[in-house]
């Protein structure tokens, strides 16, 4: 039996073979365009990656509000900082390894500390970037942005949520970091799926329709790996192992209340992210639980290693982020109780 949370209003075709696949960067494109329509103060800057970071649509529709910076991410962040303290809502786009990778100090001083209303879009996150290799696969970006005071961090799970995250970022005052993937990933939510910054959503709960299957672990996931977490939960259900899957799209501020509640309910947690397990979602959840309600934890993600070239599926398998790896981690964490 499928234990999707009906209140999450997820895609009914979620476990079908022909589920729609769409990269989250496309959601960024749609969100940016919509934000631009809603608010004339929204401007966009890009560092020579207009097509692949999907700023093209905005640039074509609003050429006077688009600034091509050239290959200069530090300049992009700081020009945006100036615009952001002058009433504009700048969105800056590049690959996450370069922005916020290369321009971290500029973001820290001139955007975060300066409280400039800049929205940072980090693209090509995770190893699923594929053949380009580790130089272009951002696996540390959540950590370096999460640590920054005054910064909010959104990691949308699919293209629809990405669009919502962009609109939410445009509507909230202050610096926001958003993370997007290159590859097509499963569209698991719908327009009706709730998205509130700072509020993690239960996507799956084994206890919802069958009290007999008490959830024994909570899977806390973010980004496109929420889908793998759901696939794992479905398989575990077949083995009579109940779980909860939480879509933790906001890495900062963390939904501490919900995470603590789920840890209490299940007694074990597995974090799932396409990022280094240190400093990312795993670190963030561990910080919350160790202070409030420690439970055994396992961490799915990159284990202190860089990625490499390959196709995305091969890489997910090699680096231990597939549904099978998640299933193993759940079984292991339950044993450790």
């Amino acid at each position: 039996m499928i234990m999707l949370n009906p209140e999450a209003k997820l895609n009914p075709k979620i476990f079908d073979e022909d589920i729609e696949m769409k990269p989250t960067r496309d959601g960024y494109s749609e969100g940016l365009l919509a934000a631009g329509e809603q608010n004339p103060n929204v401007v966009a800057l890009c560092a020579d990656l207009t097509e692949s970071t999907r700023v093209e649509a905005f640039a074509k529709k609003y050429p006077e509000r688009f600034f091509e910076i050239g290959v200069a991410e530090q300049n992009m962040a700081t020009i945006a900082a100036g615009l952001g303290i002058s009433g504009k809502i700048p969105f800056i786009s590049s690959y996450a390894t370069f922005s916020p990778g290369r321009n971290w100090e500029q973001i820290r001083t001139t955007i975060a500390y300066n409280d400039s209303n800049v929205k940072i879009a980090g693209h090509h996150a995770g190893v699923s970037v594929g053949p380009d290799g580790a130089t272009h696969q951002a696996t540390e970006d959540i950590a370096i942005m999460r640590v920054m005071p005054n910064m909010k961090v959104f990691v949308p799970c699919d293209a629809i949520e990405a669009r919502k995250a962009v609109l939410a970022a445009a509507g909230v005052w202050g610096p926001v970091y958003m993370r997007f993937g290159r590859e097509k990933s499963a569209v698991i939510t719908t327009e009706e799926t709730p998205f509130t910054p700072g509020k993690a959503e239960v996507f799956w709960d084994s206890s919802l329709r069958s009290e007999r299957l008490k959830p024994q672990a909570v899977l806390i996931a973010c980004g496109n790996l929420v889908y793998n977490a759901l696939l794992a939960a479905k398989e575990l259900e077949k083995e009579k192992i109940g779980t909860i899957v939480l879509n933790n799209h906001t890495l900062k501020p963390m939904d501490e209340k919900r995470i603590i509640e789920m840890a209490k309910k299940t007694g074990a947690a597995v974090t799932v992210e396409e990022h280094q397990i240190t400093g990312g979602l795993g670190g963030a959840v561990a910080e919350v639980l160790s202070r409030n309600h420690p439970v055994p934890m396992e961490f799915i993600g990159l284990q202190d290693t860089f990625g490499e070239s390959g196709n995305p599926d091969e890489l997910m398998e090699k680096y231990g982020m597939g549904a099978e790896d998640i299933i193993k981690a759940v079984k292991k964490v339950i044993k450790r109780k």
Partner: protein
């Protein structure tokens, strides 16, 4: 902007001397901070806040105000002192510089003090912020002007040249941007031309499609006339390379990079006066204009 007539020029020169004195007093109280740059830039700050800028200290967020972006945040003692003299906050508050719970942070922080246009300290990123502010003015069809003060040594930063390249692109029409480079030839580790040569500096900016002017940074009339020329330049940003003497007004500090990052009382060197007398000697020299006049304090 009006031309600087002789009466006003004299008044501003006297004011600049008072600002230098207060900079020294403020640094002595703070016990740390930068001395050479603030003294060297006192004339230009005086000219900006008391003649050039269209601003209202009582309404620091007035949307039409000219913007002054200080890129080399470490010279903020002269910014704070000039702002206090202009009426942004009480002069008395200068005693809190670098102390706990102060609005006067060791490097300027926008959210801390009304009237500060941005946060700065890490070098090389003020010019691009000023570009952002100037672009916002263009988008909003506002006529305010954007002034950006940078040091000379921070031109060694890569971000600076990214910004210079962007601003020189004709499409951006950044003629509302005037950059003032404090060309004082010193940085913490020594003279700029020894540490990492900047010359030929004017030619570098010209090659990046800027309008370039050079002035004596202690001649306010010359500086004000360069600012006026910059306003008249069409479709190009202007850089005014202001040649200044670091430590200006205190003979043992002038052109001496040991005074870049330390306040009076903190430089221990056989060539310098004993630390305990440095503050007193500096103030005496400023108050007597190098012994040309008798100080009213004597």
């Amino acid at each position: 902007m009006d031309a600087l007539h002789e009466g006003k020029l004299k008044r501003l020169e006297e004011l600049a001397t008072s600002i230098r004195e207060t900079v020294i007093e403020t640094l002595i109280t703070a016990g740390s901070g930068h001395t050479a740059g603030p003294l060297g830039m006192a004339d230009i700050f005086t000219a900006l806040y008391f003649h050039v800028l269209n601003h209202n200290p009582k309404k620091p967020n007035w949307p039409e105000r000219d913007r002054l972006i200080l890129s080399n945040g470490h010279i903020c003692p002269v910014l704070y002192v000039t702002m206090a003299y202009a009426g942004y906050f009480p002069v008395e508050e200068l005693k809190t510089l670098r102390k706990i719970n102060s609005r006067l942070q060791g490097h300027p922080h926008r959210s801390a003090l009304p009237g500060l246009e941005t946060t700065s300290g890490p070098l090389g990123s003020g010019l691009s912020q000023a570009i952002g502010v100037a672009l916002a003015a263009r988008l909003d069809k506002k006529s305010y002007r954007v002034y950006c003060i940078t040091s000379d040594a921070e031109i060694q930063e890569g971000n600076y040249w990214e910004a210079a390249m962007f601003a020189g692109k004709q499409k951006h029409r950044l003629s509302n941007l005037t950059v003032i480079v404090d060309r004082n030839n010193i940085q913490i580790d020594g003279f700029t031309e020894d540490v990492m040569p900047l010359e030929p500096l004017a030619e570098k900016f010209e090659a990046f499609n800027w309008h370039v002017l050079e002035v004596d940074g202690h001649n306010m009339a010359e500086f004000v006339s360069a600012v006026s020329e910059a306003e008249a330049v069409y479709e190009k940003p202007t850089v005014i390379i202001a040649h200044t003497i670091p430590g200006k007004g205190v003979s043992f500090m002038e052109n001496d990079y040991k005074w870049h990052g330390l306040p009076p009382g903190k430089v221990k060197h056989p060539d310098e006066p004993p630390p305990e007398r440095q503050g007193e000697l500096a103030l005496k020299e400023l108050r007597t204009l190098g012994k040309k006049i008798k100080s009213e304090h004597e």
